[in-house]
């Protein structure tokens, strides 16, 4: 070490940002976990509940009760969570006492990413060798195709969490392409376990929404309600069974409320798609928005109400026809320095 003679105070001051984010030692994390568990039991005693069966939700409720906070941002309020959730997972020091790194790819900078690529390529070569062996023995190659639609690959963020280091977009796409190549080979079933580490299941869309059962009013007629919105318009629709096909909006017949053909076409779209034009009666209320937005809102509301009258397959068809999705398009805001959302001011040379 050099002894600095003619220096200023600024040079001798510690450079805070140079060492990166704060590193936590293992002993520190262990101590935090012990303190957390102890604190959990104390809290349970204070609230008069059983320390053994005190869950995270109970902790959150207890903290919200004991430390009421008027702050708007939920994440600024006092939290008590397990230290593994509070302190981000960090890599331990990658080199030994003599300064020599443990991993052979340390000096590439992205050691986990490159080691992962090497492993995946090794699996690919294994599969190809297996394939060659099968061809040499004249055995048929297994052709059971994996169901690609039900699973998705890990996202970039999930991969970063797995590898504990930053992954760039290019690197991520290269890794996904390699995985896809591995999956496309016929004998990829051997490496199924390895591939499952990087794929997640995607549930079928339909199962996420609950369809309400039909209700019956005083006369015994089955009906169901639905709500819809489009831009600023909000609509509620009540669809009755055994009807003549009459549609009333805010107490007015659709012929008078929507003089334009396009809006009436939109109102009839769900009924025409299911083939039930003359069979249902509809009464709706709508407010806000303009002419087309109100029509779109009523269309969504009636489609949602019709779900209860119809089989599951037809509900799936309606969803694929775009009848059950809320249209997220709204008016784009005006930006400063421009006349409108996209139009710029007239350019003048001087």
């Amino acid at each position: 070490t050099l002894r600095l003679i003619c220096t200023t105070a600024a040079v001798q001051r510690k450079n805070v940002g140079a060492s990166g984010p704060e590193k936590y030692t293992e002993a520190f994390i262990k101590k935090q976990i012990e303190e957390f568990n102890l604190g959990k039991r104390h809290l349970a005693n204070m609230m008069g509940e059983d320390p053994e069966t005190f869950t995270q939700e109970d902790i959150d409720r207890a903290i919200a009760y004991l430390f009421p906070s008027g702050l708007f941002d939920k994440q600024a309020r006092p939290i008590m969570k397990h230290p593994t959730e509070v302190f981000p997972e960090q890599r331990k020091i990658q080199w030994g006492e003599d300064g020599r790194p443990f991993h052979f790819l340390f000096y590439t900078g992205k050691q986990s990413y490159y080691s992962l690529m090497h492993e995946t390529y090794e699996k690919l070569l294994n599969v190809q060798k297996h394939q060659d062996q099968l061809i040499a023995q004249d055995l048929p190659l297994q052709k059971e195709k994996r169901n690609l639609a039900g699973s998705r690959w890990l996202t970039k963020i999930e991969l970063e969490e797995m590898l504990l280091e930053k992954v760039s977009d290019d690197d991520y796409s290269r890794f996904i392409k390699l995985l896809q190549k591995l999956v496309s080979l016929p004998c990829a079933d051997i490496e199924e376990k390895y591939i499952q580490k990087f794929s997640k299941e995607v549930p079928v869309q339909l199962q996420k929404v609950v369809i309400e059962p039909l209700q019956h009013d005083e006369r015994g007629v089955a009906f169901s309600t639905g709500e819809g919105k489009r831009k600023t318009a909000r609509a509620t629709a009540v669809v009755y069974d055994n009807g003549t096909g009459k549609i009333t909006v805010n107490g007015i017949d659709i012929l008078h409320y929507f003089p334009v053909v396009q809006d009436r076409e939109q109102l009839l779209f769900p009924f025409q798609f299911l083939g039930r034009i003359g069979k249902h009666d509809m009464v709706c209320t709508v407010s806000g928005g303009g002419r087309s937005a109100q029509a779109g809102a009523i269309r969504l509301a009636s489609a949602k109400a019709l779900r209860s009258f119809v089989t599951e397959k037809e509900v799936e068809f309606m969803r694929q026809a775009g009848l059950l999705t809320v249209d997220p398009r709204v008016k784009e805001r005006k930006k400063p320095g421009q006349e409108g959302p996209r139009r710029k001011f007239t350019w003048k040379k001087r």
């Binding site: 996202t155 869309q205 025409q272 779109g296 997220p328 709204v330």
Partner: protein, 233 residues
């Protein structure tokens, strides 16, 4: 402008905004698929589908789908080509006027064809086409150019190089030529539906100014054949 962070595929797909705001963007997450409105495609039984259609069906079952736009509907009267043409005719967002002009045009075509039909002798009655939609589609197809010209600057001079056109571009050029033709080359008193129906009937029979314009373009492309090697795509 401020760009909120994007939601991952696993979380609830709200009205989505990307990390960096590109110039052309949409409020839908890129994983949303286009809706299929026609009823016939849903009534096909499972056995008739090819392998690709089956895979597409499975993909559609898992991915979310965009909402159908207000101009699209499953009724027999809505036609994507007619809606595109109506949108191109529209001025300052007056869709009501554009749509009424379109329906008046189709009515005018039908009337003219029916007149011709009733006047024609028996043997020619089958050859006369009365369906205005069929006439519209056929007229547009006849007006579509096969090859287009593009300006390529090489060595300081700009050359007109013959270039193949995509389907979308051909359709767009045909519709644009029809509309400009009807707006400019008419007498002050003639209404748009009348003039449009006239032009459509002429184009249906491969006559008229729009077809001439297409032929002129083809001749120019043929004349500039020598420069075709300037194209690098």
């Amino acid at each position: 402008m401020a760009a909120p962070s994007a939601a991952g595929l696993g979380r609830r797909l709200r009205a989505w905004l990307p990390r960096i705001m590109p110039v052309r963007w949409s409020r839908y997450n890129p994983s949303y698929l286009e809706p299929e409105v026609k009823k016939e495609s849903y009534q096909k039984p499972l056995e008739e589908l090819t392998q690709e259609e089956r895979e597409q069906m499975e993909r559609k079952a898992v991915r979310p789908i965009k909402a159908a736009p207000p101009s699209l509907s499953s009724s027999v009267f809505s036609d994507p080509l007619i809606s595109k043409f109506t949108n191109m005719m529209m001025k300052s967002g007056n869709k009501v006027l554009a749509r009424s002009l379109m329906s008046q045009t189709l009515e005018a075509i039908k009337r003219k064809q029916l007149e011709k039909y009733h006047k024609a002798p028996e043997n020619e009655k089958e050859t006369i086409e009365c369906n205005p939609y069929v006439i519209f589609h056929q007229a547009l197809k006849n007006c579509q150019p096969i090859i287009g010209l593009s300006n390529i600057t090489k060595g300081g001079k700009t050359y007109q190089v013959p270039v193949p056109l995509t389907d979308n571009r051909k359709r767009f050029l045909a519709m644009k030529w029809l509309i400009t033709e009807c707006r400019e080359n008419k007498h002050r008193r003639t209404m748009m539906p009348e003039k449009l129906s006239q032009e459509l009937l002429l184009a249906f029979n491969n006559e008229g100014p729009v077809i001439k314009r297409k032929h002129v373009l083809h001749k120019m492309a043929e004349a500039n054949r020598a420069y075709a090697h300037f194209r690098w795509w």
